[in-house]
Amino acid sequence: MCGIVGLYLKNPALNDRLGALFAPMLLEMTQRGPDSSGFALYRDQQPQGRLKLVLQCAEPDFSWPELAAELTRVFAVDVDFSAVHTHCLFSLTADETAVRQYFARAGLPCAVVSIGRHIEIYKEVGLPEQVASFFRLREARGSHAVGHTRMATESAVTTAGSHPFSTGSDLCLVHNGSLSNHNRLRRKLEKAGAVFRTDNDSEVAAQYLDIQMRQGASLEQALYSALDDLDGFFTFTVGTSDGFAVLRDPIACKPAVMAETADWVAMASEYRALAGLPGVETARVWEPEPATVYVWEQGGRARTAGKNAQEAAPR
């Protein structure tokens, strides 16, 4: 049970203020999720071939410089890194599959939180205010962000159990709700090669989408398939390299509200998280229809698809 928020800036002039606009949205959801918090930032997009990698380690004396040196050795490239709180952002020119395999085998006490050219995910146990502070969210600049505040239901409160879950390169998922068939689905996805770090139902949803897309589905198709394959109550917000998507289950009990202006589009579990955005007084505000995929991509192109599809959002 949780709060989720997403902000996508259509007007690049606002990119300098992404964190300043997004942090209050996240903090407004503190009551819904006091256990842990996390967010995905899309910023500093790297050129083709170059990767950004965020790692997290709970051990305070883990040496990021040593790991950087090791990566330099293994991949024979320069590795930039900057540590922040329990996380460290690495960038290097390397093949993503090779990097993932390295970390899967290396047996290091650190976890890969996100990989991609654009995405950076930071998440920790603690109040949203603390997490925002740890990772300097307010100063962040970028094009879009997706965030989550967590009240743990059936799984433990851990960093790994926090959202967003990374679903593959530049992809992430946040979830408010409770799935009911995730255990059997987890076992099925494991057979298809997915590796799970938690018992969390949201991690199952994230892996499901990733596998669908690796098998050739578009984000929209993957989300639409999710309506058939996932059971339970959910509002999902998915971050992609150049946009985001929102989906609610067919019963749509968990809250979700969206707002859009010419400059931005945003979603949140409660309207008050949107109430501080510039121009929200005259924004188009609506609640997403059940079983309908909403997608926004670069340039503010919007699409909806699904059983209750409505008109596309205005430009």
Binding site: E28, P255, Y271, R272, A275, E287, N308
Partner: protein
């Protein structure tokens, strides 16, 4: 409290807490308590102006969170903004007017009074209503009037899927399109008495639309006693 009863008492939520606001509104039964109130900077707070139990008028500026005017009795409230889940839930009497859009479960389980929504309402508008009158200028979302027992829901726009699912005796009036009807909900004839009553209700809500533009929906009453032939409906 020495305020003259006809003055408007201003409550700024940047300076006082929700608790102080609600306590002041609950202390209305005292002699000389102000009966006109204005709430500023609502900023999406939950449980604003809940459990009022005396006649008064309350204007709320800004968007409100969940359960605004919950269990209202006697009071007249106007909200200049949008409302979160459960607006005027279980209202007993009085009137709530929302200028903007309402989120889910607006008027849920309401037992009396009038709720007017000038924008749209989202899913489950009037869920389990038990005597309230709800008039929506815009459209309502899916599963509106779910298990609605008593009262009237009037929708000037469209109604989302599964309108009146598992309906009891509430009366539903829709001017636009009903996407589809829920279990045991059927269209019914609009007779003179319905046109008159609906007309009066629209007047009361301040909506200038003719009653004959609406269609009436009600319960087919096939679920009132279990019948094996209707088992598919469950």
């Amino acid at each position: 409290m020495n305020a003259v009863a006809s003055e408007t008492r201003i409550m700024d939520l940047r300076q006082i807490s929700v608790r102080e606001l609600n306590q002041a509104l609950h202390d209305l039964r005292e002699e000389g308590a102000p009966t006109r109130w204005q709430v500023r900077n609502a900023a999406g707070e939950h449980a604003l102006a809940v459990g009022i139990n005396a006649p008064c008028t309350v204007e709320i500026n800004g968007h409100v969170g969940y359960y605004c005017a919950g269990m209202n009795k006697y009071a007249e409230l106007t909200i200049h903004g949008n409302a979160g889940t459960g607006l005027a839930e279980n209202m007993m009497s009085g009137r709530v007017t929302l200028k903007g859009n309402a989120s889910q479960s607006a008027g849920a389980t309401g037992r009396g009074g009038l709720l007017v929504i000038e924008g749209d309402a989202a899913a489950r508008c009037g869920i389990s209503m038990k005597g309230i009158d709800i008039v929506v200028r815009g459209s309502v979302g899916h599963l509106s009037a779910f298990m609605a027992q008593r009262g009237r829901l009037v929708v000037c726009g469209d109604a989302g899927p599964a309108l009146g699912d598992s309906l009891y005796e509430a009366q539903l009036f829709v001017r636009g399109q009903a996407a589809d009807l829920g279990a045991d909900c059927i269209e019914k004839e609009m007779r003179t008495e319905h046109l008159e009553a609906l007309g009066a209700l629209l007047d009361q809500a301040g909506i200038n639309l003719p009653a004959r533009a609406f269609r009436r929906y009600g319960s087919a009453r096939t679920l009132y006693h279990f019948n094996i032939d209707h088992a598919d409906t469950y």
